[in-house]
Symmetry: C2
């Protein structure tokens, strides 16, 4: 099954020149969603993880299902100001300005091996911030899985330089 | 297993007098997360659904896992301005002011029976807005499941008046 059949491309969103890859059509299809989750689970078959982390918000949908399928707990990597207990924060650069992700200080156990899940890897900025956060909390992201990869934007190289196995279900040329 | 053992209570968050029920400790535990998802799946055993809808953002974590376990597609009910294609919007009242949820116009099929998932039901305002949205898109929410219910705030009665079977894994007195 070609997962791309379920992904909708929206030209010029959110701004001219961007081909937005919309996964809501993938999520909304029983066949597509099953293929995506089972595919993500299979990517790292044989690797050992203690928990799954997902990046808000689309990474929550995918990561929650992957964690349950693997019988593991789920760690939400959230946007600033959303978590109720003591947090650690990591800023990262955007095209203009910065953004920030947070986890609870006690979200992971020391030495845990974490599988990071998101829908798409582009420059890898958000994923790298999530990896640093989890590292500061005492655990290690050892694998990262994405439904979509945009290879020209170099996110894979950013994460691989942090000793992370990076795998994806499909890729698109261009931005 | 008592699911409440995994839920952390944070007093006076986000404001004095509120006992915030923090489910990140439930999600982060492999035993807790499995009990929550398998519990949510079991609540409506025997009922027929065509898809699962989850409310951003904690409902994404739970709803994605429930949808995958049931072999169904997942419909994200998102905050305003997050969806890339043509949307329908529904405003709802907060204590002060209003908020808004959105789905894609083509997110559901006519006549679909939808299971709505969120972490917590309080007044039922957000859930009722999600039910109206899905109704306007041509489908029907026929069941709703929550990890936590705050019965004194009356959300169950709001949804039951809309002909929805409402079930939850645990409840807390007070607000």
């Amino acid at each position: 099954m070609d997962i791309k059949e379920f992904i909708r491309t929206i030209p010029d969103y959110p701004k001219p020149g961007i081909m937005f890859r919309d996964i809501t059509t993938l999520l909304g299809s029983d066949k597509g969603f099953r293929a995506a989750i089972d595919g993500l689970v299979a990517l790292h078959e044989g690797a050992h993880f203690n928990a799954v982390a997902g990046i808000e918000a689309r990474g929550f949908i995918l990561g929650g299902a992957v964690a349950h399928q693997l019988g593991l707990g789920f760690v939400p990597v959230r946007k600033k100001g959303k978590l109720p207990h003591e947090v650690i924060s990591e800023e990262y650069a955007l095209e203009y300005g910065t953004d920030c992700v947070e986890i609870h200080k006690d979200a992971v156990h020391a030495g845990d091996r974490i599988l990071l899940i998101d829908d798409l890897i582009a420059t890898g900025g958000t994923a790298a911030a999530a990896v640093k956060l989890i590292g500061r909390a005492g655990a290690n992201v050892t694998g990262a899985s994405f439904v979509i990869e945009l290879p020209e934007l170099g996110g894979r190289q950013v994460l691989e330089a942090m000793d992370i196995e990076v795998l994806s279900l499909c890729s698109y040329d261009g931005h």
